[in-house]
Point group: none
DNA sequence: ATTGAATCGATCATATGCGTTCATAATTTA
DNA sequence: TAAATTATGAACGCATATGATCGATTCAAT
């Protein structure tokens, strides 16, 4: 058996169960114990798992490798609808911020029809898509790579955003409520989004209805900073009214 | 059996199973082992598969965020050798600049073995590969996207490089000569590379021998800025001596 | 804390696969 | 037909993957 195949088995086993034992893989692959231990050492050195006594546990990275695709497909139809709605508010000649996140990464397909658009983003999947369309001018915000997010964060990134000014920002959040405003489960991500809000004229928050009136870990902006909330039709009419009364333009299909 | 047919068999087997063994194809095609190994070597140099001990696995180029498709395979073996040599000069804990270009983008495979490396680059393919390895800390230089180059350029990028300092820089050039120094066929690319040189302690120039004593459009650095020149063994011994006399450490296989 | 069992890393041994070189056969070109 | 080029094969020494051993370390139950 080719060693590469063994490593595949190790990583996929780990992905399913989160934990594995040397003995278990040893029998499954019909090789000696020390060979498996050598594999584990190698995979650990690449950061793809974490060794323990008698086996290994899943690492964040391996998790990312397997679940990023899954995550983007969760609720995909809703996300695409939201993005399509958002794209209606883009005009020829706009300079726009695009935040990172699985929702926002789907917006690219709706913006390549513009001939004179400038996009500024910290999202690698967004750039990965836009790079195919040379007529869309795009800039990437520099800084540290957050592997599991496929995006760029950190103080340098936050500082870099200040070098740009956009007329529209399309941002995401993990939670939004009238009382606590926008919140995120990651501090660094929150800082980036806050900066995008600060440096743009008009702010569009894209988030599906499941996140409305939910709060996450880090609060990063008041609801008044948002001009438009683009969401799906599952939002309740009471919530809709409350947000409108607060001066937020709620956009649904 | 015609060699083209064998290669078809190899690639379609690989497409179905994701993995193959030399012995298996050898029997199926009724040729010697070494013939199959030669086929595998050739197909690998075209980026169509990845060789392993005893066989090959499917090329994973498909799931990359960014890839060069054609140019990277020109002279690929030489480029890989040069990168492997370069990686020998990387130490644990280093902070390194990696320039963009098809040669440099191959260096990633040799640096993931380090546990405490920090990489700063403007190359999207480099980031695309390193993002899989969370133990490698990486930063992307921000700025404008150059679509055809899969990299980041422009005044903001140039300015951003100044925010970093590396102890080693691994750079490329389109031409290098003792008289005119390093040159590039693109002004923006030259500016980025120049900044990397300025902001690092030790500079490694990676270029194949075909570029030695050639001049390109934009001169961007004197030869004295380079501490090491890593190239292939086809460099002539006279040239080698001349460069050494100039104080350049020429590294060949 | 003590002790026994399991696991670990280091070292050495071995088998298999590898690239290099040279030789031969097939194919193309002159 | 002769020469040159290409494809293939065989032999050799080298490199890699794997396995066995053994003392050290860790774990867990007492």
């Amino acid at each position: 058996m080719i060693s590469e195949l063994r490593k595949e088995i190790i990583l996929s086993t780990l992905n399913e169960t989160g934990i594995l034992y040397t003995q278990e893989i040893m029998k499954k692959c019909d090789v000696s114990e020390i060979t498996i231990r050598r594999d584990l050492t190698e995979l650990e050195s690449k950061g793809l798992l974490i060794r323990t006594h008698g086996g290994a546990i899943k690492s964040k990275a391996a998790d990312m490798l397997f679940t990023y695709d899954l995550k983007i497909n969760q609720n995909r139809q809703n996300k695409e609808m939201i993005c399509q709605l958002a794209a209606n508010y883009i005009d020829e000649g706009d300079i726009i911020f695009i935040d990172c996140g699985t929702t926002l990464s789907l917006i690219t397909q709706y913006i390549t029809r513009f001939n004179s658009l400038t996009v500024i983003t910290n999202s690698l999947p967004v750039i990965s898509e836009l790079i195919k369309y040379p007529h869309v001018r795009s800039s990437l915000i520099g800084g540290e790579i957050a592997n599991e997010r496929q995006a760029i964060y950190g103080p340098i990134a936050e500082n870099n955003i200040g070098m740009y000014h956009a007329n529209k920002a399309f941002i995401g959040a993990d939670g939004v409520s009238l009382k606590n405003g926008l919140s995120s489960y990651d501090e660094k991500e929150a800082a980036i989004t806050r900066k995008m809000i600060e440096n743009s004229d008009e702010v569009f928050l894209l988030c599906d209805s499941s996140k409305i009136e939910k709060n996450s870990f880090v609060r990063f902006a008041a609801i008044t900073k948002i001009h438009h909330l683009i969401t799906d039709k599952l939002v309740s009419s009471e919530q809709l009214k409350l947000y409108k009364d607060f001066g937020v333009d709620v956009i649904i299909e």
